[in-house]
């Protein structure tokens, strides 16, 4: 099940951005700040270029992972997959910050066998069993991707790093963002600062304006960017890196991507 998501999502998101048929991946929460008594929060997950209008394709959420401030997993309820979006509800009761993420790590390979093209996609642990050691014209690449958002019930808790792939470790809490105030975010790749990383931030409601009006930022030597939010609203954050530092034995090429949906409130 996980692989079927990865095939679709990683193919469409990571392989094809230059070709122009990639869709932006996002998980949209119905609210990001919840009172101490907790409550139900509903999420839409979709791949669509219009932010945040689900008018292209549903995001597969088989690899969905929800963890609370105490690290405990929360099971999604009323999970539904539609044509243009997936949706689910979370019953969030305990105080703290919840990370709602769809993350994947997959290896894609192409080679020739007896003059015929062969393809394989699968988990990094299954590479050895599926790609012949002496495969001719082998092209192999690792694709890591994380799409996430954050919701806080009552008192926020620290958002800790995961340590794999490309990720955001916020210095300013992701549920404490206000228009006109700078927020500092650190990006990590394999748990280490991702320097000189291009980070793009686009406000929601792209359908209602002519220009994307993206904020283009670059991380410093510590992997930090400072974002001063121009206006309240929902924002989509995008970062991607391509390198030769795949974490799978026998693989060099790697693409690591990160997307987050963030809400910025008025003063």
């Amino acid at each position: 099940m996980k692989l079927s998501f990865l095939r679709v999502a990683l193919l469409s998101l990571s392989l094809a951005p230059a070709a122009g048929f990639a869709a932006r991946a996002w998980i949209l929460p119905s609210q990001t700040i919840v009172a101490r008594s907790g409550g139900w929060v509903t999420f839409d997950a979709a791949n669509s270029d219009d932010l945040f209008s689900f008018n292209q394709g549903a995001m597969q959420v088989d690899a969905l992972s929800v963890t609370g401030g105490d690290g405990a997993a929360v099971a999604p309820q009323n999970l539904a997959k539609g044509k243009t979006r997936s949706s689910f509800d979370l019953d969030l009761r305990a105080s703290g910050t919840y990370r709602v993420a769809v993350a994947g790590d997959v290896v894609m390979a192409r080679w020739e066998e007896d003059g015929k093209p062969k393809r394989w996609r699968g988990a990094p642990t299954e590479v050895a069993a599926n790609i012949p050691a002496n495969a001719a014209k082998l092209e192999v690449e690792q694709m890591q991707r994380r799409v996430e958002t954050f919701v806080t019930v009552g008192t926020p808790t620290e958002v800790k790093g995961v340590g794999t792939g490309l990720e955001l470790v916020p210095a300013r809490h992701p549920n404490d963002l206000y228009a006109g105030e700078p927020a500092r975010f650190r990006f990590l790749l394999d748990g280490k600062p991702a320097k000189d990383l291009a980070v793009e931030i686009i406000a929601g409601g792209t359908r209602y304006r002519d220009a994307p009006a993206a904020l283009e930022l670059k991380t410093d030597a510590d992997g930090m960017v400072t974002i001063t939010w121009p206006a309240p609203g929902l924002y989509w954050l995008d970062a991607e890196i391509q390198d030769e530092k795949a974490t799978v034995p026998g693989v060099k090429k790697r693409t690591a991507g990160y997307n987050a949906t963030l809400e910025v409130l008025p003063q």
């Binding site: 919840v34 009172a35 008594s37 409550g39 806080t152 009552g154 404490d176 206000y178 409130l265 008025p266």
Partner: protein, 168 residues
């Protein structure tokens, strides 16, 4: 006697009644010509330079039923520390108040003001109304109270006049 002078007299009485230093606040909830009116949620607090709550003075919300879910709509109060408050709290939280003048008085030597360190502060009043808007007013003051001091702010939408009096 006009309503204003009654209020003034009441404020004077409050101000003069106690021997100890106090902080007195007059908060006006305005009469709004709207079809659907709900009493606003209101938070009153003292903020220091670090933008955190130095003292929570009052939080008014709908007590009947579970309506604490709307407390985060008091957006500035919530982020500055309201989110850490487990309501209800004796002497802090109470029911929403009707349109009119509301006088709040706090003994400078008692909680929650007693713990304030000397310095510059802001008194903040924030109001948010269901199907209405939100407004926050700030009045700067210095602590401790050395002489009688007054400050005021005028709301435009969700709040009317707010007057602060510090009596030594």
């Amino acid at each position: 006697m006009s309503r204003k002078s009654r209020i003034l007299l009441a404020a004077l009485w409050y101000a003069g009644a106690a021997g100890a230093a106090d902080l007195t606040l007059n908060v006006e909830i305005p009469n709004l010509p709207v079809a659907e009116y709900h009493r606003p949620y209101v938070a009153v607090w003292v903020e220091d330079g670090s933008q955190t709550i130095a003292a929570n003075l009052a939080v008014w919300y709908q007590l009947r039923g579970d309506h604490t879910k709307w407390l985060p709509d008091l957006r500035q109060w919530w982020r500055r520390g309201g989110r850490d408050v487990k309501v209800p709290v004796d002497g802090l939280t109470g029911a929403t108040r009707p349109v009119g003048q509301h006088i709040l008085k706090f003994d400078a030597a008692a909680e929650p003001l007693a713990k304030l360190k000397p310095g510059k502060y802001e008194l903040v009043v924030e109001a948010v109304r269901e199907v209405g808007g939100r407004e926050a007013l700030r009045i700067p003051f210095e602590w401790p109270i050395k002489a009688t001091a007054r400050g005021s702010a005028q709301g435009k939408t969700e709040l009317g006049a707010v007057a602060l009096t510090l009596n030594p």
